[in-house]
Symmetry: C2
Subunit: 327 residues, 2 copies
């Protein structure tokens, strides 16, 4: 219920999903029953494998995450997370307040043994396919150990979910040399170098290497990662503005842009977050997929598929094994 | 001599500049005399107002800045900076190693009274015109006071050089609320809020506000600023890759992209750093303009014009006055 278009997007996305996969799994809609039924009445949901759990409260974008979780036990977030916790559901999907979803997952599900801080992983397009950024906003102030663990989790996610073979993990820095960067980056470089073998560490990478595709997993603190994620998400809007400005310079430019409209959409599809759906919260004892607040039905549908894959590929088990294995 | 194409770009850019402005100022070329003369022989430089100071050594991209400055007194960087320091030149322009130029400027020219750390300011395009990012890489680990001073310097530069009226200065963060962000951001928000009146502080801004143009001066530490600068510089290359990929899907796409080639260049011109030329190092007791290592002649030409403007608009005097004025 915390998404910008809840529960309209959620209901429509679930219907699209279950139709497409022929009821391969069961979906529990957790939220205000009346509002959900109202949305359902706009679609033909006959024969689809879902149920509803009533949760009248909403944690919105302005709520303080930890306080809201404690004071709103009947929110869709807390109720839904508990359904996942008690094993009645294998995964939890939400387009709500990222901070609140992260906090609820950590508090209610707990952490995978060996994980200091769960991380939100963002997926960027690049010239060599999808690139993972860990952390994209869960942990603002980091220690080298956290970044090392982000690398372990990101590497596993990249391998299983993004099908990268022996993913290249780079430390986001402002120069390639070991001596470059702020204190955290310099200490982290050392920390990771002393733990070789946990993943394919290619050393420092720079901002320009992300879209170029010179790296598969970008390790950084959640402050830098979140800034760059939001910056990247604003690029399509800026390009649209530039194309529009150009189109308004005359008849010929207008015609050309008009002609190219469909193709431009195609070209920028890789930059469209709704294609992948949601991003995972890695390191919690469960499967949490977080969507953009303004997720349309397509994004919700894809989030459900990502949740299914995350369960199937046993991402958490791989993370736990890797963190506990001997050097 | 430190630029990737030195001294070819430097000589060609200077010639273009002096022709265009009709010898409005004098340029001193500092570098290897033989190489410079060799480049000059490729052009018609008759009647142009310039001179050459021989400096055979080169500080390249791999040199450690501080050590190189001390061990290479005959480098173009150290010799050129000393010519500026002793008053024989009003400004210094270089496409060399940014770290070395920053270090040489700080060590040789010294700082403006009231400035703790000089800052490199980067210029981003946006829907509301050029946006300044301070710091873009000079200071990786910052204190709130540094960021506050970056705001003062950036605000003045934005007002005089980028013609922004009462520039909006925002603190780059991962949420709008005062409580958001890492420790540095939270402390800086407080620090700036207690010093209202030095500039038009609009509070926290996020990564998405930069290209949108919701802010004129973005204050952040040099680590975040440099990552985002290099990321942004890689966008045109990524788009080119996407357009090429699209063009290769068939005859019609190829024709369409071919037809649009010139227009695309026009559309992405705002994202082309050579248009503005170089970026200033603010806070040193002099005028230093730093260019991209791979600056073409056009960028060199524009850097010279930026240097002239920075002198004319008395940017340093304004910074000193603002930092020393009573609250």
């Amino acid at each position: 219920m915390g998404g910008d278009f809840a529960p309209a997007s959620e209901v429509a996305g679930m219907i699209e999903c279950l139709r497409q996969c022929d009821n391969r799994f069961h979906v529990v809609l957790v939220g205000d029953e009346t509002k959900i039924n109202n949305e359902l009445s706009k679609h033909n949901a006959a024969g689809l494998d879902f149920s509803i759990v009533h949760a009248p409260d909403i944690i919105d974008m302005h709520d303080s995450p930890v306080i809201a979780i404690k004071t709103k036990p009947n929110s869709s977030l807390v109720k839904g997370m508990n359904i996942h916790k008690d094993g009645s559901a294998d995964a939890f999907v939400s387009a709500g307040n990222t901070g609140a979803v992260t906090a609820a997952s950590t508090l209610i599900l707990g952490r995978i043994p060996g994980v200091s801080r769960p991380t939100v992983a963002a997926i960027f397009p690049s010239e060599s396919g999808p690139t993972l950024i860990v952390d994209a906003g869960a942990v603002s102030d980091c220690r080298p150990q956290f970044l090392f663990e982000f690398g372990v989790m990101g590497s596993i996610y990249s391998e299983y979910m993004l099908k990268k073979n022996y993913p290249r993990v780079g430390l986001l820095n402002i120069g390639e040399e070991e001596s470059k960067g702020n204190e955290l980056a310099k200490e982290t470089f050392k920390y990771i170098s002393e733990r070789k073998g946990k993943f394919n560490f290619i050393g420092n990478i720079e901002g320009r290497d992300i879209l170029k595709g010179n790296v598969d997993v970008v390790v950084c603190d959640g402050f830098v990662g979140n800034v760059i994620l939001k910056f990247a998400e604003s690029i399509p809007g800026y390009l649209k503005y530039q194309f529009k400005k150009f189109a308004n310079t005359g008849i010929i430019p207008k015609l050309m842009i008009g002609l190219l409209r469909g193709s431009l959409k195609e070209i920028f599809r890789d930059m469209d977050y709704t294609e992948f759906g949601g991003i995972p919260l890695l390191g919690v004892n469960g499967v949490t997929i977080i969507g953009h607040g303004s997720s349309p039905p397509k994004a919700i549908r894809n989030m459900l598929f990502r949740a299914e894959e995350t369960v199937q590929f046993k991402i958490n088990q791989h993370i736990q094994e890797k963190l506990q294995e001997q050097q």
